[in-house]
């Protein structure tokens, strides 16, 4: 059954000077699941995304994507293999309009401009951003910018999609649409790992959760069990539960 792990981290550590942002992380992502990566601010969630996507290399440890060691590959190479990510702070290409931004992603799978544009258009329709296709990115609202991040990542036709707080700042009805979108992405066969702080979004959506705390894996399991875990409650949900 090991073959059903699309991603494995084995003892992954990342240091920034004296700061250990990820410490000896061992975890896996199953093919076809939606996994939540949760934890307090500064726990190391975005750092782990950066390591998986190849923005920078781990200080030590192994990363396996579909059983293949990828820690030494560039971000470009990992994207070709099928890993896509969004950035917590959206990073649009501001000299291009919305559809051109998405085309940069679709050019990974389509060499011709016409084909790339058609694929980008389909992706925009899919995420519900087609009506903004010709808008300059500077005119997008913050939720639209996050949707653009998702569209760009999806346009690379990934097998594994890393979503870093893409639902931040959404109204409850927008969040519902976001939940549906993530489900439909999974139904297309794309494995999703998402960083998300809002438990109301995490609980109904994800199959499994991994909790990070001070760069280490604190707990792992079904979201309902994870939130009952004493260590997790003290570390992360404590204040919230007491306040409620």
């Amino acid at each position: 059954m090991a073959g059903t792990f699309i991603l494995e981290a084995r003892g992954v550590t990342r240091q920034f000077g004296g700061l250990v942002a990820n410490k000896n992380i061992t975890m896996h992502v199953r093919q076809g699941e939606i996994l939540a990566l949760i934890g307090p601010n500064g726990a190391g969630k975005s750092t782990l995304f950066n390591l998986i996507a190849g923005a920078f290399p781990p200080s030590s440890g192994k990363l396996l994507f579909e059983g293949k060691a990828v820690a030494d590959l560039s971000a470009t190479q990992r994207c070709r293999l099928g890993i896509a990510r969004t950035f917590q702070v959206p990073r649009s290409f501001d000299s291009m309009n919305v559809i051109e931004n998405v085309m940069v992603g679709s050019f990974v799978r389509h060499t011709g401009t016409q084909a790339a544009r058609r694929a980008a258009w389909r992706t925009l329709e899919y995420v519900g951003l087609a009506d903004r296709a010709e808008a300059p990115t500077t005119e997008l609202t913050p939720p639209e910018k996050r949707r653009l991040e998702m569209a760009r990542a999806l346009a690379t036709e990934p097998k594994l999609l890393l979503l870093d707080e893409v639902m931040a700042g959404l109204t409850p009805s927008e969040a519902q649409k976001g939940i549906q979108l993530v489900r439909s992405i999974r139904d297309r066969g794309i494995t999703v790992v998402m960083v998300e702080h809002v438990m109301e979004i995490v609980m109904p959506l994800v199959d499994r959760a991994v909790v990070l705390h001070f760069g280490e894996v604190l707990a792992e399991g079904h979201p309902k069990d994870v939130v009952r875990d004493d260590k997790v409650i003290t570390a992360y949900l404590g204040e919230r539960h007491r306040a409620a």
Partner: protein
């Protein structure tokens, strides 16, 4: 069935619109060509024809610089090096071996592209300002090397031998008309190359790298290869311009084709007109080069440094008032931004 057809129609619409907006640029180019080609018939003054030739040449050279700096975001302040390679290749082969400058131009352009790949391999690891400074220093080293090389005539340079006017030697003593058409051809070729690349995968990759290299990488953009390609294309056309210039003035020496002044003169029209745009370099050259030539003739020689002061002032004004360049004033999208 019905649904698939609607889908196809919907996705075809934006594709055609974008292609149409791009193709609308071609008639503008045709118009510019027609006007430029007819201009010398009414403008027979040799001095003004010289200004026209230089304007076209700098429009082409600035477009070449724009390919690397404007589209790919790698600001070079050393393009005088590639200009010099082209100028010297054509001069050396023609004066030394009687080889036609057409071949010299091609040799220079290919050498220059190769040199750009070597230098790019070394320099593209450098970030931002360090890259610009490195290109400047390397160009100065190139100037010194040529200055001390007996093979290339050292400080005296290379004079083109006198001969009958002919297309094969690119020498025309009695009329400037052929040079006008050569400069126009140079501009059109550079423009068309930029136009073609702009709409291709390379063009998208270059702009993505310019805007945000890290995001580009995460989307599968081949960052290093893209920069190398941009550098090679840019150097190729810059050297072609250098060979043309050498043929036009029939003489090269280190200062007259490789000084830092040229690196600035390639960058300025693009910065002035609109960096990373199809027409920015041409618009910028149309304003800048006539002004430069007029001040040169009234104030005398380029040795005074006054033109450098003017360039520096212009760059500062553009940077402060309109960083996107003059073209953004007439663009519906650009004016708002």
């Amino acid at each position: 069935m019905n649904e698939t057809m609607t889908m196809a129609a919907a996705s075809a619409a934006p594709t055609q619109r974008a292609a149409g907006a791009r193709r609308a640029q071609l008639p503008i180019l045709a118009l510019v060509c027609a006007v430029t080609a007819l201009l010398p018939l009414v403008m027979q003054d040799v001095y003004l024809q010289n200004v026209l030739i230089l304007t076209l040449m700098y429009a082409a050279l600035s477009q070449s610089w724009n390919i690397l700096a404007g589209y790919c975001g790698q600001i070079s302040l050393g393009h005088a090096l590639y200009f010099g390679v082209g100028a010297y290749a054509a001069s050396f082969l023609f004066a030394g071996y009687g080889i036609t400058p057409w071949l010299g131009l091609l040799v220079g352009a290919v050498l220059s592209a190769g040199l750009a790949l070597v230098l790019g391999y070394v320099c593209f690891g450098l970030k931002g300002h360090y890259f610009a400074i490195a290109t400047m220093v390397i160009a100065e080293i190139g100037l010194l090397l040529v200055h001390n090389s007996e093979l290339f005539g050292a400080a005296l340079g290379i004079h083109w031998p006198l001969g009958a006017d002919s297309w094969s030697s690119m020498q025309f003593a009695r009329t400037k008309l052929p040079y006008i058409y050569l400069a126009l051809a140079l501009f059109v070729l550079t423009w068309l190359a930029t136009y073609a690349i702009e709409g291709s995968r390379w063009g998208f990759w270059w702009r993505a790298i310019k805007d945000d290299p890290e995001a580009a990488e995460s989307l599968g953009v081949e960052v290093f290869r893209s920069k190398m390609a941009a550098a090679a294309v840019s150097a190729f056309f810059t050297a072609a311009g250098g060979a043309f210039y050498a043929a036009y003035v029939a003489y090269v020496d280190p200062e007259s084709v490789m000084s830092f002044r040229f690196s600035l003169l390639f960058a300025l029209p693009a910065v002035l007109g609109g960096i990373g745009t199809l027409w920015g370099p041409a618009v910028g050259a149309l304003i800048l080069i006539p002004i430069t030539e007029l001040t040169r003739s009234y104030v005398g020689g380029s040795g005074s440094g006054l033109d450098l002061i003017i360039y520096g002032g212009l760059i500062m004004i553009v940077a402060l008032v309109k960083p996107e360049g003059l073209l953004s004033l007439v663009r519906p999208g650009g004016a708002k931004a």
